[in-house]
Each structure stands twice: as structure tokens, then as C-alpha cells.
């Protein structure tokens, strides 16, 4: 390999769980000969957020005006931008609300003053072009390795466009939706977690976000849930948890309830 590949890992508003997940990987040692870490505060105190990099990993949701500027700067300085984790890719649970910012602010901070300009939490993609996404809360080690490894050799990683149900079947779990009527979001949720929750008999809450490319059939799944006795509100609430910013969700679910008295 010729020149070292420069990478950066940047954090917006988040729990730092994504970084932690990756910073602890033994495999990272393999990177040393080929990679130069320009910015990764968790690994390197002398990091700088403004140096040019080949690959920028961003975790966290855009939640302040300052972060809007930061992501724009990262974009300018990076050849490839990868959004990492549920907050960066979907806005995270903190973005799952209809309430105005002032009300949210009061509930959490009261009258306290801070030195930043708060905003409602949003996915990174709402502000800059994101080239690739690593999903999950926290994201999977395997996905990170795959992405970084593939980018290192100058190839492009594949996106996951199939649902959790695939992995659930590959592992031979019983289906909690079918057997217990649990509102499992597996059919609309992006795979990659190896169907972790159904493996323990727990219905998927969709933490990896809905499958993209318009193949998350919120409407068809809402129909199944409706037949199992769930109300429109219950269905919406469950599906919104990790998909608050999905523009299709509401409309598709509502369609199933059209003409139905509640």
C-alpha cells in the first residue's frame, strides 16, 4: 500500500457509544501500517477537527447551530463521509418528538444557560451529503470492519437493503410476530444485527432504522398489526421510535386506517 489513508472520527451530540464500540476493537491495531488517524479524541488527545482526511466517520445527531457548522467543515475536508449509528443516520431517539424546542429545553434544563445554540436533533444527512451509513444503536463491529476494510482497498461497501427477518431465519429463531402476535418491526428494519432481539424472543423495535430504497412496507406491516388489535397511534409510536424522519411512514400507516372508525 502506498500513502497512508487519513481517517477522522468526529462526535456530535451523542452518548459516544459508537466510538467506544470501535475504539475497543483489537482489530484496529491492524490499521497502524496503513492508516493515519487525524482526529479521534477517544484515541488521540492531539486530534484536530479541521485537518483534511480521506474518510470521516461522524457519530451523533446535529443538535446545535455549532454542529451545523462543524459538519459542513468536516464535509469540506473529507473525501468520503460515513455517518455512524442511529443518531447520525436517523437522528436518534432524541429526534423522536413533535414538541417545540422551547418546551423540550425547559423540561431538561429549566432556566439554565449554555454556551451553544440548541436545535432539534436531526440526522447528519439533513445538512451535508453522506456517502455511506453504518446503522444501529450501537452500530455493529462487523459493519464497521467491513466498511473500513472495503474503503481501505479502494472499493465501495454495499448497503444493507434487506430486513432483519432474513437474519432471523438464517439463525432459525421462532418468529415472535407469528407465534405470539408481538409487534415485531423485523420485516421493515434493516438487517445487520443478526436479529439480536428476536433471538431472545423479544420483538424488534427497529433500532437500525427502516430499510431504505422505498422497500420498508410500513403499510403492509401496519395492516398485520391492525389485525392483531393495535391502534393507529400505537403503531405509529412504535414505528417512529427510530424512524422519526422517514417521510413515508405516517402516510403509509394512515392509509391502512382510512375509512376505519376508531
Amino acid at each position: 500500500m502506498g500513502e497512508k489513508i487519513r481517517i477522522g472520527f468526529y462526535a456530535l451530540t451523542s452518548c459516544y457509544g459508537c466510538q467506544l464500540q470501535f475504539a475497543m476493537m483489537d482489530e484496529l491495531l491492524q490499521l497502524i501500517p496503513n492508516v493515519e488517524v487525524k482526529c479521534w479524541y477517544m484515541l488521540e488527545r492531539d486530534s484536530s477537527e479541521v485537518e483534511p482526511v480521506d474518510i470521516a466517520f461522524i457519530e451523533g445527531s446535529v443538535s446545535t447551530e455549532e454542529e451545523v457548522e462543524l459538519v459542513k467543515k468536516i464535509r469540506e475536508n473529507a473525501k468520503t463521509v460515513v455517518a455512524v449509528g442511529a443518531c447520525a443516520t436517523q437522528g436518534g431517539v432524541q429526534s423522536w418528538t413533535d414538541k417545540p424546542l422551547e418546551e423540550l429545553w425547559k423540561t431538561v434544563y429549566g432556566d439554565a444557560k449554555v454556551k451553544f445554540q440548541p436545535k432539534k436533533a436531526e440526522p447528519v444527512e439533513n445538512y451535508i451529503k453522506v456517502d455511506y451509513k453504518i446503522y444501529g444503536c450501537p452500530p455493529e463491529k462487523r459493519d464497521f470492519l467491513y466498511t473500513l476494510g472495503t474503503l481501505l482497498i479502494g472499493s465501495w461497501p454495499e448497503d444493507i437493503d434487506y430486513p432483519v427477518c432474513l437474519e432471523c431465519r438464517l439463525n432459525g429463531n421462532p418468529c415472535v410476530l407469528l407465534e405470539k402476535g408481538e409487534p415485531c418491526l423485523g420485516p421493515i428494519t434493516r438487517a445487520g444485527c443478526d436479529a439480536r432481539c428476536p433471538a431472545y424472543g423479544i420483538a424488534c423495535i427497529g433500532c437500525r432504522g427502516a430499510v431504505g430504497y422505498d422497500v420498508a412496507w410500513f403499510d403492509s406491516l401496519a395492516r398485520v398489526f391492525k389485525e392483531k388489535g393495535l391502534t393507529k397511534e400505537e403503531i405509529l409510536e412504535r414505528m417512529r421510535m427510530f424512524n422519526a424522519h422517514n417521510p413515508k411512514l405516517e402516510e403509509m400507516v394512515k392509509r391502512i386506517f382510512e375509512g376505519v372508525k376508531e
Binding site: L145, T150, D161, P163, C165, K180, W217, S220, L221, V224
Partner: protein, 367 residues
């Protein structure tokens, strides 16, 4: 064919003895309603009267996920990672699933054999078992309800034991090695076998002729059923991943962080997924959910020339395990015109009055 009887009281001893031939797998209850083939430690956990396993027995031969080879980019080398397979026994395979494996053989063994499938197929001992159909079974309509081959031993239930058909030299050896466990088949046993088979064939839900089906599916592309049913579909792919004859897979190369070494992995795929029809240039030859939905129906009802049957063996899994409650059988019967009338009842001059496309209850009725 050789026939012996395994008296009921010897069943568990026989299962214990099977372990001498390899790791034993058999159907067990994995949850309230589901069964699956699992490795057997305690033979008393084996279910002899299970309905269907959530995963088909193909999982033992065509692994849900497997590493194909390791590579080194810098050295431009690769090394196939074909497992050293120990012999193993799968006990309790229903006739439809034996046909399922025979179908996979036509794909993965006959021409350009798949090495990974082949090593396992050579080491797997198959012990079939008789069954009573439930509401989802339709192997009778697929002519896969009775296996002529594809098993080493086949156990048919008798009131006081099992009538065993011996299908292969391995089957002979298993019987010979344990000859003290077996008895000769008596006239009563034959009567009991006949009685079981009679009851079984009556127990199937449908008794009708499906021979036109694959052509009608092709002719009825505009039928409203396709829209109505694909609309309900979740595109979860469960109908493919539980099917004993689905054989599509997807591969992925995983590169290590040294930027040099890595491996290729394959996993089961489903044609209900977007990427199944995705090709270079971002074109998709099955761009809609409906197109994907239709594809499965056509694929499963296509004609397997080697075996002279359809690719669907009638196991009922794709209906029983569909979380959206979509009934494959019902939808096929809609196309056949058996659920509701498909064609105008008053046939005009232009439309031919006879011809397979309009057949309702032919077979001589009213001719």
C-alpha cells in the same frame, strides 16, 4: 426393496444407535408452535409427529451462511475453505422435504457441482418418516407425497412400531448392524401400512388437478390477485428462507483492516428483496414488490425437467410461516379458478369453449 419392522419399544434404542453413524439431528419443539431440526442429545426429545420444521433440511447441506474462500489481495491468492465434514444423520425427514433435497441436487450436483453442497450431501444420512398432513400440506397435488428414493431408511408408522423401507447400501448396513432391533414384516403390518396410507391420502385438504397451473400463472399476469396479494406482502423473504427448494444466495467479500487479506461469504437470499434483481448500472429487472412477488410464484411452479415435478414440493411452509397471512395455496387456487370463477360464466362465440385455460372440473364431467 428391503422391508423390516422396528417394534415401538426399540425406537429409542434405535435412535441411540444412530448416533454411532454420525451426529444425530432430528425435529424438536423449539417454541410453543414451532419445530426445527436440532442436534439431539436426549433422544426422548425427538418429535415423531411434528407438522413442519421452520427451517427446511436444506440447511444441513446448503448452509444459511458460509465462508467460501480466503484471499490475499497483495499476493493475488485465494484458498477455498471447504469444511472437513464428519458424517451426520438427519432423522425424521418428511417425504416432501426429501423431494426438496432431490430438487436441490438437480441444481447443486448434476451439472457444475457445488463443492460445498456436495461434501455435505455425501456425508449426510437421511432417515425419512411418515406424516399426517395438516391444513397447509399439499404435497399430494405436487406428487411429492411418497418418496421412492433420496433416503437411506424410511420409517412408516404402524400401531406398534415402524415399517422400514431400506433405500441405500448405507441403509442396509444400519439395519444389519442393529439386526436384533428389527423383526420381519407380518401380514398385519402390511394391512396397517395400507390403512395408514389410505387415511393419509384422505386427510389432504384438496384433491384436484393442478397440471395446468404453471401455464395459467403465465397467462394470468393481469389477474387482480397479483395486486391484491402483493399489496399485503411485507417482502420479508420468509417464504424463501423457509422453502426447502429455494436455492438463491448472495455473496460478499469482507476485507480485513490490514487492507490485504479477507474472505468471501455467501448467505441465503430471497427474490423478494430489492437487490435480488439489481444489476450493473443500477438497473433492476424486478423493480416493484409486485414483480418480485410474482417471481416467486412462477419460480416455484416452474417445471423441473429432471424430476418431472414442480419446484414447489407442497410442504406448506411459505403459507404457514408468512407473517402477513398470505396463503400461497389459496392464491394458486384463485389462478386455477378453484377458489372463485375466473372466467366469464357466459362464454361468447369468440372465446373457445374448450381448452385448458377454461377447464373447471374437466375429467369427463359433462362431456
Amino acid at each position: 426393496m428391503r422391508y423390516v419392522k422396528l417394534p415401538k419399544e426399540n425406537t429409542y434404542t434405535f435412535l441411540e444407535r444412530l448416533k454411532e453413524w454420525g451426529k444425530l439431528h432430528a425435529p424438536v419443539k423449539i417454541s410453543e408452535k414451532f419445530y426445527d431440526f436440532r442436534e439431539i442429545d436426549d433422544v426422548r426429545k425427538v418429535e415423531f409427529h411434528y407438522t413442519r420444521t421452520i427451517m427446511p433440511p436444506k440447511k444441513f447441506f446448503f448452509k444459511p451462511r458460509e465462508k467460501l474462500f480466503e484471499f490475499n489481495i497483495r499476493k493475488a491468492e485465494y484458498r477455498e475453505t471447504i469444511e472437513d465434514v464428519e458424517p451426520f444423520v438427519i432423522f425424521g425427514v418428511h417425504a416432501c422435504d426429501i423431494f426438496g433435497l432431490k430438487i436441490l441436487d438437480t441444481i447443486y450436483l448434476d451439472e457444475l457441482p457445488d463443492k460445498y453442497y456436495k461434501v455435505r450431501r455425501e456425508k449426510g444420512i437421511i432417515i425419512g418418516i411418515s406424516c399426517m398432513p395438516d391444513e397447509y400440506c399439499f404435497c399430494n397435488l405436487r406428487e411429492t407425497d411418497f418418496a421412492d428414493d433420496g433416503f437411506d431408511l424410511f420409517l412408516h408408522e404402524l400401531p406398534d412400531g415402524w415399517l422400514v423401507r431400506v433405500g441405500t447400501p448405507t441403509g442396509h448396513r444400519i439395519v444389519d448392524k442393529n439386526i436384533k432391533l428389527f423383526e420381519e414384516v407380518t401380514t398385519e403390518d402390511i394391512c396397517a401400512f395400507r390403512e395408514f396410507e389410505r387415511k393419509r391420502s384422505e386427510a389432504f385438504k384438496y384433491h384436484e388437478d393442478w397440471s395446468d397451473l404453471r401455464y395459467l400463472l403465465e397467462l394470468e399476469m393481469e389477474h387482480p390477485m397479483w395486486d391484491e396479494e402483493s399489496e399485503k406482502c411485507l417482502a420479508c423473504g420468509i417464504c424463501n428462507t423457509t422453502c426447502p427448494t429455494c436455492r438463491c444466495y448472495e455473496v460478499q467479500d469482507i476485507v480485513n483492516l490490514d487492507g490485504e487479506t479477507g474472505y468471501r461469504e455467501r448467505r441465503w437470499d430471497s427474490c423478494q428483496f430489492r437487490s435480488h434483481g439489481l444489476v450493473a448500472g443500477n438497473h433492476n429487472f424486478r423493480p416493484t414488490k409486485k414483480a418480485r412477488f410474482m417471481n416467486r410464484y412462477l419460480c416455484k411452479n416452474a417445471y423441473n425437467e429432471k424430476l418431472g415435478i414442480s419446484y414447489c414440493v407442497g410442504c406448506g411452509r411459505c403459507t404457514a410461516f408468512c407473517p402477513a397471512g398470505i396463503s400461497f395455496v389459496r392464491n394458486l387456487r384463485v389462478i386455477l379458478g378453484l377458489e372463485e370463477k375466473t372466467c366469464p360464466s357466459e362464454i361468447t362465440e369468440e372465446i373457445p369453449k374448450r381448452g385448458f385455460a377454461y377447464v373447471q372440473n374437466l375429467r369427463g364431467d359433462g362431456l
